[in-house]
Amino acid sequence: MLDFDFNPEEKVLTCFFKGRLDTVLSTQLALELESKFQSLSENADKESFLDFSLVFDVKDVSFISSSFIRLCVAGNKRVKEGSFSILNSDPFIMKTFKIAGLDGILNVK
């Protein structure tokens, strides 16, 4: 349900989400994500970790719950302003972020 691709040279962590991201799954994914952050921050000082870009790829996602949106907001707070983005949203998912008024802040593409 969640794969990672970490590119240390470009300092980009891409998270590939899959499936129906309901509340239960999103809560579980939040823990996985947190664990990933922990392991990455152990290998870098805190400041340089903040320099990373964080990308949520939702190409294979069919549904997002409000918990997943909260996860995105939390992800956005982990990195510097403008370093977070959501890629490959289908129009229905994009509309969900639009209605939530977060498409701009979360840089949904």
Partner: protein, 477 residues
């Protein structure tokens, strides 16, 4: 000064209230006689009023203004003439419910500069059909032509026996006075058609309001569409009255795979594709940089006038200036609403990207208004329609004429288009007579046998859960 404004407003509303009092005594026949007289007089004046409107405002094309007047008179009249608006309007013996139509009272109507005579006539017709006196506040740049339209309608109404002061005009130009009348406690409803500021003022007045503001109409051309037909239709709509209809196309979105064909077709049908440098020049004169709103100086102007103002040269006979943009928002001023023959054009890499662009444009100041799609794939038509927040999604139809209704589809013809809650409106419908009456429902005793057959005591039993209550409720006796 304040007292004087209030006194003047009181005077107008006192007259309107007396008209309302007399009007509520009218029967359907008397009401219809007044409406017919107004329709005839206004339709006969369609050309004179159209020419006056263009001469006074300097906006649009008089021949198209004639068509707008025809829509505002003949098509509106034909759509409302057989409506029951007085007394008992329905009676259902099965439910035992009868509906009675009651007028609202004085309606304060604001008319825009872009459609100054047609909107005035349309509002007068629907107000009189619902037995409501109307007080009109015209745009300051269209006071004379709107006033003349109102005068013609009022005299015709009087000749058919309408109450005195059933149509009144307030002097244009004073925003303060307009707001004073708008907020007057005797105003029953505000019908505001115009810019964002006006609509906001209407909603802030404390009186009920139907306020219809701006749009930003995206049009998606699907690969399944008949492209030459689609382009001809878009041109027909975007050039109508030099693009002054708020439902006119603001942007065209296509997938990469058909982009070249669409570009070529636009060019073949005499549209001009602006270069990046020319786009910058047009941006400067079309959009006010600080507010990101369209410049009043280009509203309803011809392509040639706009080109001259921008300092660019376009071939004679050019119908539309096409600006190919790569983004939406403040960095791309031409992605905002412009009521002139300037059209944004977007190429997306695939279908999903194209739809996402449409959503972006839809949310850029046009939520709830209108959108268009050209497609012969029903699945895509329905998918697009569910994703776009628009009161009207017109299919294979010029959006200006399609959204207004009465010609290319069966929507009620209207010059005030509801935009739903997205546009801060209470309805997404085309505003017409039914929105201007209070419907009272006479509800005769019709017992709910299911409810009264249930043993009342089981509702008091803590051990009786929803399943048991449902089974008991639906039990056949």
């Amino acid at each position: 000064m304040e007292e004087s404004l209030t006194e003047r407003a009181n005077d107008i509303l006192e007259k309107a209230i007396l008209a309302a009092a007399e009007f509520q005594e009218f029967n359907q026949e008397q009401t219809d006689k007044v409406v017919e007289a107004v329709y005839i007089a206004a339709l006969n004046a369609r050309i004179k009023l159209a020419k006056m409107a263009v001469e006074e405002t300097g906006i649009g094309i008089w021949e198209d203004k004639v068509w707008k007047n025809v829509i505002g008179t003949q098509l509106v009249y034909e759509s409302i003439r057989n409506e029951k608006t007085v007394g008992v309007i329905s009676n259902d013996p099965v439910t035992g419910i009868s509906e009675i139509a009651q007028p609202l009272g004085p309606i304060f109507a604001v008319t825009p500069v872009t459609n100054p005579t047609s909107t005035a006539i349309y509002k007068i017709l629907i107000c009189l059909k619902s037995r409501n006196p109307i007080i009109i506040s015209s745009h300051r740049s269209a006071a004379h032509c709107t006033g003349e339209a109102a005068r013609i309608c009022y005299e015709a109404a009087l000749s058919a026996g309408a109450p005195e002061d059933c149509v009144q005009m307030i002097p244009a130009g004073s925003r303060e006075f307009t707001q004073t009348v708008m907020a007057h406690p005797r105003v029953a409803l505000i019908l505001a058609t115009g810019g964002t500021g006006l609509v906001k003022a209407a909603y802030s007045s404390g009186n009920p309001a139907i306020g219809v503001g701006p749009g930003n109409v995206p049009v998606f051309i699907d690969e399944s569409a008949d492209i030459p037909f689609a382009i001809a239709s878009i041109i027909r709509s975007k050039t109508f009255d030099n693009g002054t209809v708020c439902a006119s196309e603001q942007s065209v979105i296509v997938e990469e795979k058909i982009a070249r064909t669409v570009r070529d077709e636009f060019t073949r049908q005499n549209c001009y594709l602006l270069s990046p440098e020319e786009i910058q020049k047009v941006e400067k004169i079309a959009i006010v940089k600080d507010t990101l709103s369209m410049s009043p100086f280009i509203v309803g102007q011809s392509v040639q006038t706009i080109a001259e103002k921008a300092g660019i040269s376009v071939p004679l006979g050019t119908k539309i200036l096409l600006a190919e943009l790569s983004g939406v928002g403040k960095d791309y001023p031409l992605s905002f609403e412009i009521l002139a023959p300037i059209l944004a054009f977007y190429v997306a890499k695939d279908y999903h990207s194209a739809i996402k662009l449409c959503i972006d444009l839809n949310y850029l100041g046009g939520i709830g208004h209108s959108a268009g799609i050209y497609a012969n794939d029903e699945k895509r038509i329905m998918e697009f329609s569910q994703l776009i927040n628009a009161g009207r999604i017109v299919v294979n139809t010029p959006t200006s004429q399609g959204a207004v209704g009465g010609t290319f589809n069966m929507l009620p013809p209207s010059l005030t288009l509801g935009c739903g809650t997205g546009g801060k409106n209470i309805t997404t419908e085309n505003i017409t007579v039914k929105h201007l009456i209070n419907i009272q429902r006479v509800c005769r005793r019709k017992m709910n046998d299911k409810f009264f057959s249930v043993d009342r005591n089981i509702y008091m039993d803590e051990n009786c859960n929803e399943t048991a209550l449902r089974l008991e409720y639906h039990k056949n006796h």
